[in-house]
């Protein structure tokens, strides 16, 4: 598939990821949204100890990161009056 416009490609990234619905992921998602530096080994281990899988954690991390990127693009689109 050919590469499309940035806006269309970003929409595809957003459509592909999925945030786990369990509220136990909220602290991890928040730490990722603010830059990811505050994510700790203990945070990850606590989720694993609670029975969540590494796949769940991976999904949370990429979904929260993509959400932060989308938020920034949407803010500028609104400012420019293009959305």
């Amino acid at each position: 598939m050919a590469v499309d416009t940035p806006g269309a490609e970003l929409a595809r990234v957003q459509a592909a990821v999925r945030m786990p619905t369990d509220p136990a992921f909220a602290p991890l998602a928040a730490a990722v949204r603010t830059g990811g530096r505050d994510v700790t080994d203990q945070m990850i281990q606590a989720l694993l100890d609670a029975g969540h899988t590494e796949d769940d954690i991976f999904e949370c991390i990429v979904a929260a990161a993509v959400g932060a990127g989308v938020e920034r693009v949407r803010s500028v689109e609104q400012l420019l009056g293009t959305k």
Partner: protein, 193 residues
């Protein structure tokens, strides 16, 4: 990295691609390649196409080197040494500069439009909800069109996403020699997996 599945839990096809990487680049696969190739349909493949569209497609406003520099700048703001170094290396190479480590602080030696965008991206990265129309004035005074501002925003957004994933997963920074080879390869081949 913090997740074993991202380190070594890839499917056969992606494992084979990772095994080929040293033959193509002379370096071990960077951790971010391992991230992109883990369940690529979920993140790596669509994200690679987005990055390719933003950082490598034709632009009327920004060169490839300038867009890579926006990425390096955002990565510095997010304390992501991994991405900062890689994208500044690509920017320096594309712009014909040798001052990789000082390229961000010496961006004033490039076009004034680049540093005007730096100021805007800085505020955008810190708090997108705080932006007001006044934040556009400096860029518009230099003649930058809205389309150019949006393109720079997308370049920053690619790294806003990548920095967060790299920081959260604890991706390791490669050696300087490996980074040089990886940045050369990325500049040549692009981001589309």
């Amino acid at each position: 990295m913090r997740l074993k599945i991202v380190e070594s839990g890839h499917r056969f096809r992606q494992k084979a691609m990772l095994a080929l990487f040293p033959l193509l680049s002379g370096a071990r696969p960077p951790d971010f390649s391992r991230i992109l190739m883990y369940r690529p349909e979920l993140f790596g493949k669509p994200f690679g196409k987005y990055a390719q569209s933003v950082l490598r497609s034709q632009s009327k406003y920004w060169s490839i080197g300038e867009r890579e520099l926006f990425g390096g700048y955002i990565s510095a703001k997010n304390d992501c040494d991994y991405c900062r170094d890689l994208h500044c290396r690509m920017a320096a190479r594309a712009l014909g500069r040798s001052d990789v480590d000082d390229l961000i602080s010496r961006a004033f030696t490039l076009r004034p439009e680049v540093t005007a965008v730096f100021d805007f991206l800085d505020r955008l990265e810190q708090d997108p909800s705080s932006l007001t129309p006044a934040d556009l004035e400096q860029m518009r005074a230099l003649g930058l069109k809205d389309e150019a501002i949006l393109e720079a925003t997308h370049a920053a957004a690619v790294l806003s996403v990548a920095n967060r994933v790299v920081n959260a997963l604890g991706a390791r920074v490669a050696t300087p020699a490996q980074r040089e080879r990886i940045s050369s390869l990325l500049l040549k081949r692009g981001y589309d997996l």
